[in-house]
Structure formats: C-alpha cells, structure tokens
Assembly symmetry: C2
C-alpha cells in the first residue's frame, strides 16, 4: 500500500470479528465501520456538500459509468478532479462502472477484453475494459478506485459464476497493471455469487495480491437476505486484517450489523436518498411513508433523538405537507435525515465495539430476520 | 399602526423619490428597499430556511390560497403558526389569496360578497370573502397580511377596472373590520389597472385609512413594462411617506429600480426560483441558460463578484452538468444564486441611496428599456 493510505485497527469485538478502524486517505480519514452516501453524478441527490457534511458523511461515492457518460471524465478533470468539481473535500471513492454496465446498459456484449455497450445518452458504442475503467478513474481522481469486475446476475449457474469470478481475477491483474496514480488506492472485488466455496477461493487469491483494500461485490442483486450474511461470513474473514473491507451496495440495518460482525468496515447504498425521493423516512429501523394521514397533524420531529438538521427544525406534519405538495424540499429534508440515520447507525456500532457492548446492544440486528 | 410595527426613513435620494428605510416587525427588521423571496407553500422552493437566510433574505412571502388548500391553515396553526411550521424566524407576509383565485382557480364566480371557486385539490366549492381571507391569514400568523382585493385582468375596460377598484375599497373596509390580531399589520392594496387617474384616486382614498403599510397590486399582469413605471409613478408618491410601500409581483431589475425611484420599498417575485428550476441563472442583469454548450467547460463561478454559496463553491461547468443531468441540486444552487442576486441588487441600490449615488450608479436601469 502506498504510504498515502493506511488502515489502523483501534479495537476488536471480543465475541465477533467486528472491529473499529481508521482508514486514512489523501483527503482525510474514514472512521470505520461507516456508511458511505452515494453521489452518482458528482452530487448526493438533493444535497449540497455543506448539507452532506452535516449528516456526518466522511467518504462519498460517485459512479464512473454515469460520470463517463455525463459530463465525461475530461470535464471533471478540467474542473480540478472530482473533489474540486463537486465541492467535496473529504475522501471519495469511484466504482469501476462494471456493475452499472451489467445492470443498466442495453445491447452489451461481454468478451475477455471487456464490455461493449450502447450509450443511453447518444447511442454511441462504448468499449469499457479494465484498462479503460482505471484510466477513467485515474482521470476522475477519487481517493479509492475500484477494479473492473464481472458481476454475474442472480440467479446464475455455478459454471457461469465460476467463469465470471475467474475473469474478474484476470481483469483485476490488468487493472493493477493499468493503474497510474499513487495517490489513489485500487481496491480488488471478491465475486463468487452465492457459491461460498467460490467466494472463499476468490478471497484467498485476492488477499495474496496485497492490495490497499478489498470489496465484496455482487451481493444484494436479488438473492435472499440470509444469503448475504452467508456470503459475507465466508468472505470477509479471509481478507487481510490490516486492510479496509467494503461491502458494496448494502445499506440496510440488519445486513450492515451482521457484516460488521464478520469484519466489514465500509458500506454504501442508494436507499436513503432513493427512499427520500419517494417521501419515505427511515426512523429507528422502520420505514415511514410521510403521506400517511397519521402524520398530517403530528407536530413532533421524525425522531426526537436525532440531531440532524431536519429533526432539529421540522415536524412530521411539515414534512408530510411538503411531500403531499411534491415540494423538492421534502426530498432534501428526508435525504438529510435518512443519510444521517444510517451513518449514525454505523457510528453507534463503532462506539459499541469500542466499549465491547456490540453483541449486547445490537442483538436485535444480529439475529436473522426481515431485511431492514 | 400598532406599536409592534414601525417604518423609519433613514435617507432620501436628492434627485428621485427613492428612500432607505427600516421596517420593524414582531419577527425582526426589513431593511428597505429589499426584494422578498416567495415561499408559496410554506417553503421557498428547493431551499432550507438555513440556505434562505444565507441569501440575505429578510422578509419572506407565503400564499394564503395555496396554504388554505394544502395543508390548511388549521394545521399551520397547530404547528405553531407559519414561522414555526416552516422554520423561518424572520419577518413573513401572506397575500390575501385574491390574485390566485382570480388567476388560477376554475369556475369562479365573483359577487359583492366575495369569490366562489372550485378547489383544484378535491373539487370542493370554496367561498373566499374579505372576512374569510383575513380569518385565514390571522390563523396562519404572518407579520404582514394583505387585504382581499379584486385584481382585474389585463386588458380590461375602464368601466370594469373602475368597478373592481371600488369593490376593492369596500372589501378593504371589511378586511379592516375583520382583522383580529395586533401583532399582524394589514396592508391595503391600490388597484386601478392601467388607468392612472383611477390609480391616483385609489391611492388617495387608501392613504386616508392610515394603514400600517400599502401595496400596489394588479401590475405585471400582462401590460407593457413601460406602463408598470407609469402606474407606480402615479401611485407611490400619493401613499403616506411614513409607511412601507410594496409593489406586488415585480422582481425584474429595471422595474424595481424605477419603482424605487418612485418611493417603493418592497418587492416580491417568483422569477428567481422559477427560472432556477428551468436551469436559468440571473447574472449581472442577464439570463443564462446553463444548458448552453459554452458553459460545459467553463470553470469559473456564475458571477466572480458574487458572495453566495453557489458562486463561492461551484463552477458554471458543474452547474451545467447538474442541469443537463436534471439533478435537483442544480435547482437549489441556482435558486440560491438567483435570490441572492436580486436581494443584492436592492441592497446595492440601498447603499447607493445612502451615499446619494443612486441616479449615477443605476442610470442604466433608470432609463426605459427592455424589461430585465
């Protein structure tokens, strides 16, 4: 790992593999475990960087696939790189574009070289390869960049997943060779679908490459939630203990708590902002539709224990009024709260691990149950 | 005027009727001349109160017609009144609903009693009278409330306008009789269409009622902009010099400058937020469509002399990217800038009047020309 990056483990849970760490990047530290908000198009939807900072956000994601299509990485670089372009001075991470190419784009063709697809913007044919993904991410300039991987769909046969996992490993080696910037940490991604032995093999193989960080990818793609726990439990403990571990695309309470118990440090998910735009608040592990009639005259905050700007200044009745009126401010206020809520959830786990009270205080979330 | 309200004139222009004042309300002062942002549904679209405060906003408007339909004034009162409900602790003003009933609602029927119309929300028949408008505004709780008036369309015959102006005066007397709260100032509205003698007569008649403030209504309803200047010039000087004067619905540079030269103190307009939602920035008297290709790689702020959050933190290229991507944050950043821009325009005029440089520094805006 470049000396620009370090991961320090400060405390371990005595009963699980949970740990408290500090991940240092050129743009500041990330206190782990921690939820990371998603800023797909170089902004976390509806929020200014000032509002985002107030939620407790430390590391923020952005999407290579989306930024390549609009405005294009050259314009982001022209604006001084992703941090300066979007006004976020904290740590940032870009994904490789792989997941979006596989899940969003039309007319894609996968070969050993990479993926060819049609741009939904202008219909142009785009060829995304491991080298090209890294080149784009080097140009965008996030602190952490992700390897270009093949994310098999769910369900997929063992043979299909095995082939995708093997290709992901070959593509990772090409990503490592293509990577140009020492001020960016390249994370490898463990694939393997729901086949736990393939996951374990991939984790062991990737661990040997001594990368600055590791991700578990291809989860939360439609498989039953109990399988997410099994996948993480079969994977995370095999990754190097002195490197950060990131579970991609997961941001529900139970799945985060169980993953943290397996030694995962970082999470991201679009749920808090997507739900906000649907008028849904995440409160104490529950989801509330603010259009519900019971909120019309409820003059209490969403969560009276929450310190976010929304809960400190507005009532459920007011937010319900804004949602009913389809006022954009509703989505901003709910995004502030929902992101604050998920970050605070991971912060509370962090404090619990430091006090060795994790399994006691989070027992509710560590037992199997509904995804939430 | 209740002792809760006062208007102090601090300075007058030596060459025009322009003046600098301080309007005191139960929720703070308004330094005049000043542009007031519009928060139709108990929020200035896309902005939190914290962001609104940063624009320099002092007094904020909200619309009785809209709030009566959603969430209803009783819910606003249940939330502690308009200020507390929406989290704005500064001065507030509600209009009477008259203008919206005349311009927006369907199936309206005007009688001496008031206006009957069909609610666009639930089809219910609503009867809005001077008494009812004041009752709703008393319940909402803004610092300044407006008389319920009949706003004739443009064009309208002299006879039609004369009838509407006479009715507006009778309705004003009913509003005064109905008004219940000494912590709210009721402003009268001068109507009279484009007929300058009707305007003058109405202004003189209203002035005799010794109200805490006066508005000029029924302008910017489709008439040529040069007529706005004539109307204001024929009206404003006849209103009591020791009371604030408010030109309703006007927020363009030239029309504000010319009105200030006639002694107007306050302005409101939805243009800055509406244009923001169309991706348009107001810069130095001009309007820019941020989708224009020339902004794609323009890494300078909208206005390098502007101190607003948007100009201090983001480039034209970034905002252009957000507008192209239809990201809500674009509308927030443009609303912040556009409102800051109009408020600063009136602040600069204020400073110029204080230094008696108004006609010299604002000569460009004081001569007839394109509406802007």
């Amino acid at each position: 790992m470049s000396s620009t990056f370090s991961f320090q483990c400060l405390a371990c849970c005595s009963q699980t593999k949970a740990r408290v760490g500090v991940f240092s990047t050129p743009h500041g530290i990330v206190e782990t475990p921690r939820f990371m908000p998603v800023g797909t198009l170089a902004n976390v939807k509806t929020l200014t960087p000032a509002q985002l900072k107030e939620t407790g956000a430390q590391m923020v994601l952005s999407n290579t696939y989306h930024l390549h299509l609009q405005p294009g990485e050259k314009i982001v670089a022209g604006g001084g790189g992703l941090h300066k372009f979007m006004g976020w001075n904290g740590p940032m991470l870009t994904d490789s574009g792989g997941f979006q190419v596989f899940s969003l784009s039309e007319m894609r063709k996968i070969t050993e070289d990479g993926v060819i697809f049609r741009s939904p913007h202008d219909g142009q044919i785009i060829n995304l390869t491991p080298e090209r993904s890294i080149e784009i991410q080097n140009t965008l300039g996030a602190d952490v960049i992700m390897a270009f991987d093949e994310c098999p769909p769910y369900p997929a046969t063992r043979q299909e997943v095995q082939a995708a996992t093997a290709r992901t490993y070959r593509w990772l080696q090409r990503c490592i060779a293509a990577h140009q910037r020492s001020d960016q940490a390249l994370f490898g991604i463990v694939q393997g679908g729901v086949y736990l032995d393939l996951r374990s093999q991939a984790a062991v193989a990737l661990a040997e490459l001594d990368l600055p960080g590791y991700a578990i990818g291809g989860v939360s793609v439609g498989e039953p939630p109990e399988l997410i726990a099994s996948i993480v439990q079969a994977t995370a403990p095999l990754l190097p203990p002195d490197k950060p571990r990131y579970l991609m695309g997961v941001g529900t309470y139970r799945e985060m708590a169980i993953a943290i118990a397996s030694g995962v440090d970082l999470f991201d998910c679009v749920i808090p902002t997507r739900w906000a735009r649907h008028g849904t608040a995440m409160v104490k592990g529950d989801r509330w539709n603010l259009k519900n009639a019971k909120f019309r005259e409820d003059f209490t905050p969403l969560d009276e224990t929450c310190a976010c700007y929304t809960c400190q200044n507005f009532t459920r009745a007011y937010i319900s009024h804004l949602v009913r009126s389809q006022e954009i401010l509703a989505y901003t206020l709910l995004s502030i709260h929902n992101i604050s809520e998920l970050i605070r959830f991971t912060q509370k786990i962090r404090e619990a691990i430091l006090g060795d009270r994790f399994t006691k205080e989070f027992a509710h979330w560590l037992t199997p149950g509904e995804m939430g």
